[in-house]
Amino acid sequence: MIPELGAGALMVALGLAVYGSAAAAIGGRTGRAALVESAQHAALAVFTLVTACLLLLAWAFLSFDFSVRYVANNTNLGTPFYYRLTAVWGALEGSIVLWAWMLSVYTLIVVVRHRTNARELYPWVLSVMLGVLAFFLLVMTVPAPVFQRLMPVPSNGRGLNPLLEDSGMITHPVALYLGFTGFTVPFAFAIAALVTGRVGDSWITTTRRWTITAWYFLSLGLLIGGWWSYHVLGWGGYWAWDPVENAAFMPWLTGTAFLHSVMIQERRRMLRLWNLALVIMTFALTLFGTFLTRSGVIASVHAFTQGSIGVFFLSFLAVVLVLALGLLAWRWDALGAQGELDSVVSRESAFLLNNVLLIAATFTVFFGTVFPLLSEAVRGVKVSVGMPFFNQVNVPLFLGLIFLMGVGPLIAWRRASLENLRRNFLWPVAVGIGAAAVFRLLGVRSTVAVLALALTVFVAVTIAVDLVRATRARLRTGERFPRALGGLLLRHNRRYGGFAVHLGILIVAIGVTGSQAWSVQTETTLRRGEHTDLAGYRVRFDGLAGSEESNHFKVTGTFTVGDGRARGTVLHPAKKFYPQEQSPIAYVDYRLGLREDVYLVLGDFARDGSQATVRLQVNRLVSWIWIGGVVLTLGTALSLVPERRRTGAAQAAPA
């Protein structure tokens, strides 16, 4: 009964979303408020129905309803309670449900927040949101029916993919999808601005918080994905330039560009066309990513379920692009720049260059990802470009971006005088160059590593210089220190939130640089009692033991890691044998540290437990990537603190 209820609810929701989208559009066109109001009711109903579907699906998982194909494919009687819940979005069909549900939540928030403060744009925003929602509901009904029955009903299900039985899988997709769906809101506002011809700056100020929130969740999703890859997949890395990763990284790059270029528009009324194009591109890339990973056109280690869903996404992507580009062409005359770039040495130029580099990186990632398709179409041979390509081309771009991270926030608008440059950058540049020399003397050989670390120091000093100067100014007015600093951060929370986010990115950059430059590994076979040495660590193999877990067998190795100083740590890398899987799954064990992680992967082993092959890695500075994520979170939170000062100004600004 429950599956039929769910499937029925989806059909009704689809109908209502289509109706609501049309009603809102007609309401917006004719100015009939009743129609827009009716669309609002439709949005509320869609939200209720999709929520009901999600709950029904969760209930089907909790109650082991194997008559539902999706449940039977992704759970079995041994799946623990919490993984039965996360299995709801463990595979394709369920993840679309989650996506649609988040979209319906966002639609509702748009109704609540912008019903009154964006009157002209609002009907069209609602129409676009419901239109996109309708597409996802269509996907849920036709190519990926989540409530499809399975006949005959099996007595047990197949079980969740063991790799997904991890806490990272609870949070990673949720964060990623919140990011993806979040960009629908600025996109909807951009389309509304184009349709109504109000292509001024109001859509940008209204969606600032949406953009930051979406960007934040996308960043978080990427970082958690890296963490999952690092501690589950057992290859010892966090990023492999796999098509699936690239698919999520491209909208992050364009989203980051958008986040910065809107500041130029807010301040200088420039880049109108560019900003509209960027947000359209970002939204299109979220769809493209789903198409890429779900259609099977690109081979990926992730190998998701494939099917006709790719065609649906490609068609929708085509519709979105044709409509959006058509609207851009239609409003071309209104999109001319009002401001002009005055000087190459100015904040506008720094931001523009930041955008150019981010778009260049997006293009590079796109090109590298679809390269096998291109080469097969053009030359008839299948050629791929792997990690070396992405690293080689992107490293200079990212170094440039880090440099601009230091320049952009401090350099003067319009035209920077020599005095301005000296005042802001003399110290940072001097300290940066000094740091480069010190890193060289300390024996850092890689030029890229020296450059990356020195640039990081440069940016950190620019932030410090700014903070010290502004705090001093407040101290002069008689405020005491903690109050002066706190007041400063809160009063200019956008600026200092942004600085903190930059700091987070810098910390991530340090982690990436360190792990790329200095990580070492070895693989060896040890008899019981034997040991191997790497980077000052001595790892001894103490034996193997088997155990039976709720849904799998586990062979656990015991290794003692000594570093010559303290008492040894005992690590337990294992191999898990799931009955539904043909091959075992490695379960890595590690000791995390600020300086380095000791990371052990159990390879092959003798059945009598007398010897085991083990891969030992000493991964340097990786923890800083996760610490950077925490700083980034704090920075985003600071930048989203409601502003008392600016609210008046934003409404007074001419559209």
Binding site: V344, A545, Q582
Partner: protein, 144 residues
């Protein structure tokens, strides 16, 4: 738009084009099947070779970490050598993709064996399960 910005944009575009061109030529990896590789192997060129691991061809020497096997596409078979333990998803009669280069001594030197994760499930294998249970017995007997 002032000319100097156009020139700057042009310089950036040219630099990017060059970096991409250099990146592609240096890191291009050619997808081949065993019969394609067998007919015209070029030593030193980077290949990604995909095929089926031939039954009875796998030899794994834990002490020296030497792993040898043959990849086949039904028509041709290529001997492969790798240093390192076989990855989890590796097995006889199953598909595998290896990355590496052709050695003039007449074998494929794999630097990387790619594991393919799948969302799809096979029906539980009674035979493999029995094997695991057997292994569990040996291991637990051993630890006591």
């Amino acid at each position: 738009m002032k000319p100097k910005f156009l020139v700057g944009g042009g310089v950036i575009a040219a630099a990017l084009a060059y970096m991409i061109y250099a990146g592609v030529t240096q890191s291009a990896v050619y997808f081949v099947t065993p019969s394609e590789l067998g007919s015209a192997p070029v030593a030193g060129k980077a290949y990604r070779l995909g095929g089926m691991v031939e039954r009875g061809s796998v030899h794994w020497e834990p002490r020296t970490l030497a792993l040898t096997f043959a990849l086949s596409d039904g028509k041709a078979s290529v001997p492969v050598r790798h240093k390192g333990a076989p990855p989890d998803l590796f097995g006889e009669g199953r598909g595998a993709v290896v990355e590496g280069s052709w050695s003039p001594e007449g074998y494929f030197r794999a630097t990387h064996i790619m594991a393919k994760h799948s969302e799809e499930y096979k029906a539980p294998h009674d035979t493999s399960q029995a094997g695991v249970k057997e292994m569990m017995r040996t291991l637990s007997g051993d630890s006591r």
